[in-house]
Point group: C2
Chain length 353, copies 2
């Protein structure tokens, strides 16, 4: 049985992408070579990079004032990379502390400059997105985690500030429209909404770079990667290729407007069932904070947990166990999750009532 993959990441990919991705491992577009063995400086891979960048620019409306980079190292590498490239020791960056990933970004940034925690939901186990805070003036940038994969919360409004936003969008990139001009850097590990593990997308406003005093190793300097067109060294060829296929798929679904509708519809179906069904309740404190990507919930009677898990698995729903920080269940319903996948899970919930 083909499973329905609700895993938080690495995560589900469109079936059509997987079919093409497998074919290219055998023979890339009839070239007689596998995508796994072609040079990163070949015409074939150059075309992949050009198309991937073009799709990112088109889908998010990214102008030439930004570089679009396909790196490696995951979002965790960007936690320090962003601060290392933007923040001098005597300067301050603002951070919104909305989950474990935000906390890690804060920890890494502190090695490079001053960190001002503008708002935090830590005291209530990160069960909501803070509101009503004021962003002080004079910050180099304001960092946030747009979607908190573990806690199932998501920013719906962006902080009011003139400072550029630096956003970890690992778990909701390309899931909805965003006001790009507010952002100085957007980064995302590919393995949730964009492709397989091993590639990291970074979109960076060029005028922010070159302003720190420290010496940057070549591989840790965004400018080196911009100049090298993401091939300063050998990039993760195959993960980037599959990312390109996924971006093509997103475009074919109607771009970000299409994705947004698709994701709203799925999330609505699932949250309505969580709210309606007395056997379940959501873990997020308010509707405003609820994520459309990672839907976290528990059984109202904890004793039901194992039985519901078993029922879901029997229906082919894989990867719904909640993160240990929250418990219960987490259904990750990223871009590639079809509506029918969520319908199956909701059917199991109804039968469980």
């Amino acid at each position: 049985m083909k499973k329905i993959n609700f895993s938080a990441g690495p995560a589900i990919l469109p079936a059509s992408v997987l079919t093409q991705a497998a074919a290219a491992v055998e023979n890339l577009d009839g070239s007689g070579l596998s995508i796994l063995e072609i040079s990163h400086r070949s015409d074939a891979f150059d075309a992949v990079l050009v198309e991937a960048e073009q799709l990112v620019r088109e889908l998010l409306n990214v102008g030439d004032e930004y570089g679009v980079l396909f790196l490696s190292g995951g979002a965790s590498t960007q936690f320090f990379f962003t601060a290392m490239n933007l923040l001098n020791p005597e300067e301050t960056a603002g951070y919104l502390d909305t989950g474990s990933w935000s906390a890690k970004a804060i920890k890494e940034a502190k090695n490079f400059g001053k960190v001002n925690i503008i708002a935090s939901s830590k005291e209530s186990n990160y069960d909501h997105i803070p509101r009503g805070y004021t962003v002080p003036d004079g910050l180099k940038y304001v960092h946030l985690t747009s979607n908190n994969t573990i806690f199932g919360t998501q920013f719906k409004e962006w902080p009011e500030t003139d400072a550029p936003l630096v956003a970890d969008m690992s778990s909701d990139i390309f899931s909805r429209r965003i006001p790009l001009e507010k952002f100085g850097i957007i980064y995302a590990g590919a393995q949730k909404n964009l492709g397989p593990a091993g590639a990291t997308l970074v979109i960076v406003r060029k005028d922010l770079l070159g302003k720190v005093n420290r010496t940057l190793p070549s591989m840790l300097d965004y400018r080196v990667h911009i100049d090298g067109g993401s091939t300063y060294n050998t990039p993760p060829v195959y993960p980037i290729y599959v990312m390109m296929l996924t971006l093509r798929w997103i475009k074919a679904q109607g771009g970000l407007e299409g994705m947004e509708k698709h994701n709203e519809r799925k999330a609505k179906l699932l949250y309505e069932e969580i709210d309606r069904n007395p056997k379940f309740r959501g873990t997020v404190a308010d509707d405003f904070s609820r994520s459309q990507m990672n839907v976290t919930f528990v059984c109202t009677d904890e004793a039901d947990t194992a039985a519901f898990q078993a029922a879901a698995e029997a229906a082919g729903c894989d990867g719904i166990t909640g993160h240990r920080s929250v418990g219960g269940f987490r259904a990750s319903i990223y871009n590639s999750m079809p509506y029918e996948g969520v319908e199956t899970l909701v059917r199991v919930m109804r039968e469980f009532e």
Copy 2:
């Protein structure tokens, strides 16, 4: 026509590995999930990591005093990573300057401590491996590039020193037996002898770590990755999976002893033809320095170059154009290159005589 891939990297992989690698993209071992969408914390991927590490340990005889890491960022990231983790500002490391990659490693290391260039072949366009040098005492480590991918040279003897060797083995790892005990760190981008681009193998002696005074970002601390078993963050799942398949294949070919024989036989065939055939000559200054992985040669009459290139391509030989720093031709005949591949190239050379 299936091409014979002589590319310098990303490079040829065994046909059987490609077949399995494609199948796993559709469905990993009948699990109902693609290898591209499984969690890096799943039992299935844990088994991959365990087996890959076990194979590395078995093939190279690596004991528990070493950590075996599957990272990302390529060898270029290791250029600074090694120095950042081992070298204090007032300490000196020795470097052997045998090619463009060595030179880049030297450049990156200088940001972290003192660099003593023990020997260099730069003056003669890196056409040989230096001999007869003396390694001074008191070095923190001695860095070398075991195989110089661009210039077609390779270390056959290791420097005499008590300092641990730090070796970039990107283009000859697992191609022959090595005296592991001499090495403090071995690193290699996977994309030549080990798998597709996107994963980096690092073998590091644990007692060398934790001795630098600087603060290391978590992702740039070998100890964090050792403690995390290469899953401190999301590793490049698919490149590691294909590396594991390639390691299995190496073991099945008789391990490093088998690889060594296979590689010696291929290199002998090709070098003998280069020497014998008046139309060609090698670019490396002495036999001792010749690489068994990257065989560099030119047409004795430069005017023949384009015609030979065309003849080779017509016979399906792909990727033999030399690097611009050397010109002429470079046939990369890594582990996965079958003997028959080299025979085909040699046949074209004979027909060209």
